[in-house]
Symmetry: D2
């Protein structure tokens, strides 16, 4: 497993599996979102507090590579790194099956900040991530 600035453990749920017996593709996107929200909570912030202050962080692009499927009731570790590229915050996220650390999903999630309806450079939230951005760049 690579180095990550944040890891979050979860467990698949049977209702997230489809008729092929594996987790439906779209549910990984839920896992990735939960992980980002937990990461933001880990620095004392919240998407919805930002929303109430007029700052909306929105996904503009997502790339997901499916490497191996997860099955019902399996534990996994959802990991992320973060960098800034222009106006974008780019989350590099990977999901590993816990039992054998097999890489199941790798993803790149691009987010932008919209303040009162206008796209910004994202400086409004930069302070919360300064430590991590410095570590990586």
């Amino acid at each position: 497993m690579k180095d990550f600035i944040f890891k979050y453990e979860m467990k698949t749920r049977d209702y997230e599996c489809d008729a092929q017996g594996v987790v439906n593709n779209a549910n990984y996107q839920h896992y990735l979102e939960v992980t980002r929200h937990e990461f933001i909570q880990s620095v004392g912030q919240s998407f919805y507090d930002w929303h109430r202050r007029g700052i909306d962080v929105m996904v503009s692009k997502i790339v997901i590579n499916y490497k191996a499927p997860l099955h019902g009731g399996e534990e996994f570790i959802s990991c992320l790194n973060l960098k800034r590229t222009g106006v974008r915050y780019v989350f590099n996220q990977e999901i590993y099956r816990k039992s054998d650390e097999k890489l199941c999903v790798s993803a790149e999630v691009h987010c932008v900040c919209v303040v009162d309806g206008v796209l910004t450079r994202g400086d409004e939230i930069a302070e919360y991530f300064q430590k991590f951005l410095n570590d990586q760049q």
Copy 2:
């Protein structure tokens, strides 16, 4: 099929099925909600307009009887009747498989009105349903 004041046709989606190959139980609750929202739209109203006016219609109780499963890609007809019982609006809802009109789910959904945080008798929205309430009582 019984008489209903509103019918709405839908089709199951493969991702709504679980590993047993049938629609997961919780998804019927989604179908029932969609049907109520479409019914309310059919009288020119909207849950979210009400929400913005401070009127929240909330489900207080739901009873669902599962009679027969739906499979992926099957069309069904979702039907409802409405009555008032005390402070409650009670939706009687049934879901029939379209191909043979087999009854799959019957449900009773109790809703109450909360206006600015206070439970009311629900008179705020009664006018929109007067026609249907008269027909049945």
Copy 3:
């Protein structure tokens, strides 16, 4: 909080909330299902193993009372008791907000056993729950 034979802690996810900012009603049914599956796992069994052996445990009826809403990112404790009534296994389930133990949802979930397509008295799985059934009856 009442006495329960099984408790399972979870946390709501932001995507489970709807535009009213609270967990959508149908998602509680997911929480209840996850809790039953975890309970069954806690006695060393699995719905899907049973399915492969030809034993399908199916929900025939569910009654859910909504007492108070959960919001995004809230921790809760999902509890259950179990009894047999005729051919039915009846799960009494309650969901409490963790922070103040407020009761959010109480539910009654009726399950039946179908073996190779035929409704049975459910004796196939009784041994796994004997301890709990004795405790309560």
Copy 4:
């Protein structure tokens, strides 16, 4: 709107929206999947028939660009084109709001064929799409 070989109309559902009042990002992936399954049905085939014959068509990679959000109760047109690139079937998919044909989502979905657990060149299902592949190449 560009030319597409298949279009499918749908309507967003209120429970698919999150607390920001717009459709949650992961649900677009559901819409894209439904559209591919309906397309396959339109040529008389089915993912699950293939699965039963030992042919699993699996998403290996997905790229989604989010252009504009959809809100609850909005109708949209989900469109797709298809090409083969090496062992991959690549679906180019776009989602347009129906009312003004605004582009909301554009996506590229890469699928591979796995037959009895072994990755193939995908020739097993090529015949069903020959017409469309010829039209485009």
